[in-house]
Symmetry: C2
Subunit: 182 residues, 2 copies
């Protein structure tokens, strides 16, 4: 299995409470829609798979005056699989880190701090690399128009890396407060 993000996201949503396929779509849209999307073509097959793997159960609900719906809930085994994913250390992508953090409430706070810290260190390395390039490649040294366009993407890298690092620091300190207050 490769990334299979949607699989774990659906499992993650289920970990926050039982819901139907339809609910999952809405919940993802509301909660993390600004950086992550799922389509029906994924939700329903994934739910089927999750049930066949015993990582989820479902019951059919028929309330008065509403269409029937299948309400899914995560199993203990499903929880274990989710935690395994949350623990896996390939958070090169912002999305993956952000998703894992969003579902982080099922983890000890210290794990989340550690995860953020590792991510922060990666970004600090990236920023350092960008800074090194920018030291000899900047508007003062640029000769051709194409170099400007290269510089813009480099600046994007710098500016966003800085933003990521700041965000990490902020989140870390809140998590540390939460950990103390507990």
């Amino acid at each position: 299995m490769k990334e299979n993000t949607s699989y774990y996201v659906i499992l993650g949503i289920l970990s926050l409470g039982e819901c139907s396929g339809y609910d999952i779509k809405k919940k993802i849209g509301n909660a993390i829609g600004y950086f992550y999307k799922v389509s029906n073509g994924q939700i329903y097959p994934v739910l089927k798979k999750l049930v066949s793997q015993k990582y989820a159960d479902f019951r059919v609900e028929k309330s008065e005056g509403k269409p029937y719906r299948k309400v899914y809930s995560i199993t203990d085994q499903g929880f274990a699989v989710l935690k395994e994913w949350l623990d896996s250390r390939d958070n090169q992508h912002n999305n993956e880190l952000l998703l894992k953090l969003y579902f982080g409430s099922v983890q000890p706070i210290s794990k989340n701090i550690q995860m953020i810290d590792e991510y922060k260190k990666i970004k600090e390395k990236h920023l350092e690399a960008y800074d090194n390039i920018a030291a000899y490649f900047n508007p003062g040294t640029i000769n051709t128009p194409q170099e400007y366009y290269s510089y813009f993407t480099l600046r994007f890298g710098q500016v966003t890396a800085k933003a990521y690092i700041d965000w990490c620091s902020e989140v870390e300190s809140i998590l540390q407060e939460m950990d103390k207050g507990k």
Copy 2:
């Protein structure tokens, strides 16, 4: 055709000068590798397609003491197709905007300014939306741990949107200088 990003990226690289499939991989790695990747499984089929569509030509090069290589170059029709893509206005994703800007030297500067400005306006709207949520959803009003984790992703949205907007302003002013100095 849908997004087909790699197709246009390869065309874009070709627009900067003739090169082989192997070169394309290296060039992408060096120039935009920090936010975009291509695999061989894409490069070679895309090059074949580009040639069949007359958007690229190639000649076989055999220099002394080196393996043979196919050197591809973009055609006028290919250029037109690239420009069409650069002009298309679906830059929701950072990557797409960034790629288009990277290949922006084939466009008039004003087009690039306009593109950045549209992107900036989108990001300003996003930021406004995040700010609105943050107004009633922040550490002072949060009750459950899960809400903190939601807040973290919201903050990520805010912090990065701000960074994008700053970057836009910076790039815009450099582009304006370039336009004047021309």
